[in-house]
Symmetry: C3
Subunit: 398 residues, 3 copies
């Protein structure tokens, strides 16, 4: 963490992130290095201010719309925390209570809810080819509405997890890594293993491993993706990872051997995901409304998983990492062997040992989201930070 | 839109709306012309201020209770937007989560939720004779509670749609018409056709056509209500419409011929609704808990509708309006032929052509609701606007 | 009510409640007399300020997490009102929408939702031995998280009803009694009858009678607990009551005779509750997931209740109280004979006569909750009140 708020302001002023003003945040690889660095810097600045009891409320009124098409605790609360920190009130679009079931188009709904919305956060990650596309439909609709004078402001879209990427999660993970290693410069040549892990629960989305390789290959690290055969991620994202690695002076490799990935790793991220092919199949079954097919597919997925129970982050495996002390990461909740399930992604003793850094990792997310919003709503965020500091309103009265 | 905020303040100061202070908003025809004009003026003033980044936050704390006994997207978000604009936090009374199921009386619930509530917004439109009555029960309960010193303030009741009227909707529609035609004075002698239209979906409430004829007959227009036989609206509301028209120098007529209504119309509002008699029958079946009966009635309604598929707002019909360019209105969501259904209320090409004005029409609703609240909470709203302007707090920090 | 805000400030400055800062509120008998008096004083002060249109907003941002594991209207709205009064935004943890079902530990969830939470309000009252324990798990988890630097602040835990006590309710009831009798000093020697009453609805929790005897024995009153055989409360709580009574110069007695309890009582609190043994049995059945067993138990409870239909607060019984005018209390909703049920806890005419004081009783709850939060978040609450008064920001703009 920097020493004074001015350090953060100076840092921001050294970066070029003009394109973020009035923009949206879909995928990390659509952003430049400076833009990502602006998010990290501003996230840390907002945290600095909150921890020094300086209010970062920049809105007197305004809504932050949340639209979750999948279960969530963490991200739902992170989004609400981020909005609240800035002065926005969360209004949830509950598709059960709305009239979307009666044939309302996406374009219409997006505009109808946005008259006083400054941000729309969407999680739509369950169906391949659908989630990210839906987010774009919404963003296009409100951009059009703003241009036509229907909406006085263009709500910024924040991707709270789609079928392709999970930017708020992996940006939080990355900021955590940067803090743990004392700066981006210390990451060059470090080995990061993003590995699959056994889980007894249903097919989890690909957006976390994809988000990790899509982002963390930009910092000069040697990123290894490891998984059993049949658990491939999108080739398009792998291409992004390879190009990132090349540009940043790092590397991107793959292996079907978890041990090989863990060997001398500085950072490990063992986490379950469903096979891409299965996720596509589920998307088709969903389109056909074939619930029986979806249930059958789930059984198939679970038994396929069960062939790889050895893909677990055990104490033995951790011992093979760099000095036996690699930084263990997880987006949570983890399937912890003997705690949340009989056999899972990670040994209980490993998870326990890393509990505090895992919670620290999670703590960055509200600030990452707040930073993404802030950078989209202000042309000169550094100047706004200065003004907040000068006002010096305490967050909690003293 | 006026040129400066002072124009709005002067306009308000020229009107007499004293009775609105500490009042409620149930039906538009319970309000005087000055009172309606105060709502329109204040709605425009609040919009002017928001578009000029002046905060209209008038509450440091306070709740806006929302109680929706029927699905809603638009009005739910409009109510939340209006409350948020003024500084009130929405708290939803979800009858599933509450103990209302355990025999709590309306009077008790109304008081129990209102200790720190400044406004209560209710939608209760599905059962004839019940909705508006329920709203009055709630308003009476909190008025009594305030008189007895139980509640420090009397929450103002805003009708978010009842079985009789839909004031927030039709006031927004009317303000849109006034803007589109450049002023009330330009409405004299204009022809407005409020017509039924075919819909493949279940019986929709009567409160929109009733709200339209109950309000829009006050501006000197020639208002025509058109529907097939069997789709009559409340005779009491028709009586109100006839009297309004007489007083305003306009007219109110009826026809069973959609073409006749559309002929040379300046404004058309084709929208489906259920037959009054059927809605009453559904109310009885609901009281008896006869779900099978309700389902059978729904089938009956749909087949009755299907006898009038020619009641659709087609391109051909639109060509017969004044210069072929009548203003097309809808409260949304519309049943769009070929888009939301096979055969619906309106041709896709007509809907498309009017999309922007339709969204503009909808954009007035949060401001109409905010104005209704404002006029009930402040004895001198014009003075409050002045103070907000002098404070000049930006809505979004700059 | 005191004459000026300074009276409340002086009162607070005369009390010692240092331990409440950064504390939690679980059970009233874990608090000292000064601490309880601080809650009463501050609740009245906050009410005084709100009724004089002085804003008591002490947070520019921050969340108040609500977690209700049982139905609620009153307490849900009271908690939201209290948070809103102070400037906190409520974020509900809906266990249906969250991932708690997927094996997430309490410790993890508690931290994941708390990054920007200043208070967590929990209702968990249905299962003996579980509710209060769960609240402690949550409070321990966030205390740990705060110590470890994961959470910048320690959210204060407010018990919104557990299996043992219902502090916000009984503190509100007590403050009402103090106001009705014109001061604590006037309570010495008054007789308070906390009696069971017949109800046709399912087993209600023991926390109200337990909370009443656990708190109201501290003021020198003669507290009588009355119930049919088989409806005993926790012996541990009775021991607390007996000790409280002894220290305060009052008394705590029991009887199986409702008439004896009502005889010459100054205050009566007739309310249904389920037999302790039955509630324990239900806890076991729940642990086993035995829904059929739970349904059977409910039938058993209802028929056991039905043997004591004479345990009703009738006009006849009220006549036997002190001057026939004992203060009738209820936490609401009551089972009112002939209104909410055929035969219930209280005659309709009795309930009607006491409606206003009953609503007044309820009106204290939001202020009690706000006071509990305030005392946990500020080391010098009296000084904060002074500052709020000096700022003099109006709650509603004038």
């Amino acid at each position: 963490m920097m020493k004074t708020l001015q350090d953060y302001i100076d840092k921001l002023n050294s970066l070029n992130f003009k394109e973020m003003y009035n923009g949206d945040f879909f995928l990390t690889w659509e952003k430049t290095d400076d833009e990502l660095e602006a998010v990290f810097t501003l996230a840390d600045a907002l945290r600095f201010m909150r921890e020094h009891n300086i209010s970062t409320k920049v809105f007197e009124s305004g809504l932050g719309i949340s639209l979750f098409r999948d279960n969530s605790t963490r991200t739902r609360f992170s989004f609400a925390s981020a909005c609240n920190l800035l002065g926005l009130e969360v209004q949830d679009l509950d598709e059960g209570k709305s009239q979307i079931a009666h044939g309302e188009t996406v374009r219409e709904t997006a505009n109808m809810i946005s008259f006083m919305a400054d941000v729309i956060g969407i999680r739509d990650d369950m169906y391949i080819g659908k989630g990210n596309a839906y987010m774009h439909d919404v963003a296009d609709a409100v951009t059009e509405g703003n241009k036509a004078g229907i909406l006085a402001q263009k709500p910024t879209l924040v991707n709270l997890q789609c079928d392709i990427d999970h930017p708020t999660q992996v940006m939080a993970d990355m900021l955590h890594i940067i803090h743990e290693f004392g700066g981006v410069e210390n990451l060059k040549g470090k080995k990061l293993a993003m590995t699959w892990a056994y889980s007894p629960s249903y097919g989890k989305p690909l957006s976390v491993p994809q988000g990790v390789i899509g982002l963390m290959t930009r910092f000069g690290m040697d990123v290894v993706l490891a998984h059993p055969e049949g658990y491939e991620v999108f080739p398009e994202v792998e291409a992004v990872a390879a190009e990132n690695a090349s540009k940043s002076g790092g590397s991107y490799t793959k292996t079907n051997d978890m041990k090989e990935a863990f060997q001398d790793a500085d950072i490990v991220y063992p986490k379950s995901w469903a096979p891409f092919a299965a996720m596509e199949k589920r998307t088709d079954l969903y389109a056909k409304g074939d619930q029986a097919g979806i249930d059958a597919l789930e059984k198939e997925l679970l038994s396929q998983n069960a062939q790889h129970k050895d893909w677990a982050c055990t104490e033995e495996l951790m011992k093979t990492t760099k000095d036996g002390k690699a930084l263990y990461l997880h987006c949570l909740p983890a399937d912890i062997t003997g705690v949340s399930c009989e056999e899972g992604e990670v040994d209980a003793s490993v998870f326990d040992r890393y509990r505090e850094p895992l919670y620290k990792e999670a703590s960055f997310k509200p600030y990452i989201i707040a930073a993404m919003i802030f950078l989209a709503k202000f042309a000169d965020p550094a100047d706004i930070l200065k003004k907040l500091d000068e006002k010096g309103t305490p967050r909690i009265l003293k």
